[in-house]
Assembly symmetry: C2
Homo-oligomer: 209 residues x 2
Amino acid sequence: MNPVVSVFRHPPDGGRGYHRDTRVRWALEEVGQPYSLRYVTFSEMRRPDYMQLQPFGQMPVYQEGDLTLFESGAIVLHIAQRFAGLLPGGPDARSRSIMWMFAAVNTIEPCIASGSVGYLEQRLQQLALVLGEKTWFEGEDFSVGDLMMVSVLRPLKDSDILKQSRRLQNYVACGEEREAFQRALNAPPSVRRTSGRSDENLSVENFAL
Amino acid sequence: MNPVVSVFRHPPDGGRGYHRDTRVRWALEEVGQPYSLRYVTFSEMRRPDYMQLQPFGQMPVYQEGDLTLFESGAIVLHIAQRFAGLLPGGPDARSRSIMWMFAAVNTIEPCIASGSVGYLEQRLQQLALVLGEKTWFEGEDFSVGDLMMVSVLRPLKDSDILKQSRRLQNYVACGEEREAFQRALNAPPSVRRTSGRSDENLSVENFAL
């Protein structure tokens, strides 16, 4: 049975893919794993049956057989460890890829949320320095760490703070250009559903069903 | 060769174990892996040779052979996946344990950092509801998710906000009572070094050496 991923019925960002469910769809598209979507409205996210799956009433929820997961970082890591394609082969490189996931969600993302421009500027300069002229943080191959880092940086892409760094701008652009990302972003569930497109990798259902 | 973990030469918290290096030592103590400590001062953390290891100039750094990791969450997860003792046997339970790590560092910790009491109260109520009467989040067995969640909640333990929840207070206390935690906390490196205690699991060195 294919994994089921929750998705906003009416994404507050107007479909720009800035919400955390996008990361999960992106990961599934990268590994080529078919999945289903489950539409959820804001009022449904406050209902006891949803809170049973996601105790903080947030997005997203991931269901695969008897396993229910929340926290986009945990879900993306689960997908990367369960299906091939998002983690390097060597054990040290795997640990470093996972390190960049944590750097994204526990250093960069809180720094963005803090609203402190000076602090964020410093962190982004440090980040750009590590990236150097590499395409991805672990070199030639895109990994789960890049998926999370690009996801976390994307909402800054039109801001002056990211425009100060050519490297990080390019990095985000390279992430967005990936076919798997485009599939996750450009075929949002509402479009797919109304287009009548037949896509064997995707099925949709309502949460309330 | 044993892993080497960086540690504050002069911990700003006065040795209460609230800094992120404590989590790493705790994890190593839980799995029974001998390790060495590397003292670092604040001025050394700004030096290029330290920034080469930890690009954000933060604590901690973990070195194991050719592998260098930063981000306490990534290090703790690496230890849990590398050495037995901190992850459940079943694949679903493993993924859920890792989920609680991400909930700690990406939902609860940023919520504490936000300084919004109302928001934090709500999150802690939701957390206590999931914990219920269980000892740990995955039931009977302590896991890497509990290690991170207890670490994140500990700084709140004398606050009114945690005192509102008997469950979470007990949960933090159960974590702190673990022998491995006590070893990580109560034998801080300065004490061990000056006591002349011979501990085959521990050696210390200076970063600058």
